[in-house]
Amino acid sequence: MTTISTIEEQKVWKLLESVYDPEVPVLTVLDLGIIRKLAVVEGRVFITITPTYSGCPAMDVISMQIRMALWQNGFQEVEIHTELSPAWTTDWMTEAGRKKLQAYGIAPPQYRKNKFHTPSFFEEEDTPVCCPRCQSTNTQLVSQFGSTACKALYQCLDCHEPFDYFKCH
């Protein structure tokens, strides 16, 4: 990442705050932590993004929306490059993003304590997942896979509401 950002680069960063994840519409691309590099050279914008999940259909839409947002604000030439390594992790999600998820009714991902490993069968998260509605930690996993690749299904055993958990990745 460049250390000295130009006024134009700061403008682009600002514009990215208006680009939301189409599947989790409260999170911006900056909240997700998928923008890895950004540079503006002689009016041309170079952006490096990293995919969240290999098959996530939102990635193509996100690239398109970034282009749209920049075009509408005078940046005609935009090059978006995809970089796989280092692999995206939910640890890169911002604190602001986590708060927005919680308010939206999705339990935010926990931080990874250790290196990614294969959990034992039937083992759940290291610490209990907190219900986004009543804050109870008396919750249980319903399914490891939810409505999108990035979420798992949980249920609160106190308020009985089912909810999504943005799983660790």
Binding site: Y53, G55, A87, T118, F121, Q144, F145, A149, H169
Partner: protein
């Protein structure tokens, strides 16, 4: 156009590295497609969603390998080899997927055991691939192994749940093992393009994965009250393009749109 493509396939697609990438891409695509056949038919909503999510992960991984294969196979200045042409315009004999991936879904026991046997292998492959000499393959592996971890956990839990479940579910698991086990040996038997890649450091030495794989399967089977078959005849050929008759039916459906309306897009 297809004739021209086929001509070029004989030249550029025969490089060992490209063959290897196609083997990885084809296997994940075909298994992804098989899993996608469950979409709307899963036993309960949550599991329908789970298997469809796994299908999506696998197809996403296949895309990364196809894109890289296309980049490696492309003649300078040409643009006709793409991830789509590789997936939709090759014939069964050109597909290098593992036979295990193309096996029919059967009942839930067969589907989840197929996933468990495969994901346990894929995890070890990705683990070793991250240490390989090819930077792009290492990057794909680093990304994909996280998804595979969830697939092993999910399918392994189902193996235990069904194996250690009712008399009926146990019986179904025994049947699933009988059906699928003959297709597992191929995962650990390198063919020519792999042998060359192992020497050059960009292919995974699959023979070395057999013991750790067997240990993982054994561990889950122990918990499930199932046993690993001792010795059984093994069917090979997928990596050389010699498939069971099931692949042709799968491709007929999967490739129909591009064959009937070449170049059509969403």
């Amino acid at each position: 156009m297809i004739a021209q493509l086929n001509n070029q396939y004989f030249t550029t697609l025969s490089q060992p590295l490209v063959q290897y990438l196609l083997h990885l891409a084809d296997t994940t695509l075909i298994l992804g497609h098989r899993n996608s056949e469950w979409c709307g038919h899963g036993p309960i909503l949550e599991q329908d969603i789970a298997i469809s999510n796994i299908a999506l992960d696998l197809i996403g991984q296949a895309r990364m390998f196809y894109q890289y294969a296309a980049e490696k196979a492309q003649q300078p200045g040409a643009t006709d080899i793409t991830e789509d042409s590789l997936a939709y315009l090759r014939d069964g004999i050109d597909f290098k997927n593992l036979l295990l991936a193309e096996q029919q879904n059967g009942d839930w026991a067969i589907t989840i055991l197929r996933q468990f046997l495969y994901s346990s292998w894929q995890y070890l492959v990705y683990e070793q691939m991250q240490q390989g000499t090819d930077v792009q393959m290492a990057a794909i592996a680093e990304k994909a192994i996280k998804e595979t971890t969830y697939h092993i956990k999910w399918s392994g839990e189902w193996v235990i749940r069904l194996g250690d479940g009712t008399e009926e579910s146990h019986k179904r698991m025994l049947h699933a093992i009988e059906v699928l086990w003959p297709f597992t040996g191929e995962m650990f038997t390198p063919v020519d393009f792999e042998k060359e890649g192992i020497q050059q450091g960009w292919a995974v030495d699959v023979a070395s994965l057999q013991q750790p794989w067997l240990q993982r399967i054994q561990q889950a089977f122990d918990e499930a009250g199932l046993s690993v078959p001792q010795s059984q005849w093994q069917q090979t050929g997928g990596k050389k393009g010699v498939h069971t008759e099931l692949l042709g039916f799968l491709l007929a459906e999967m490739q129909h749109l591009q064959r009937a309306y070449p170049g059509s897009e969403w």
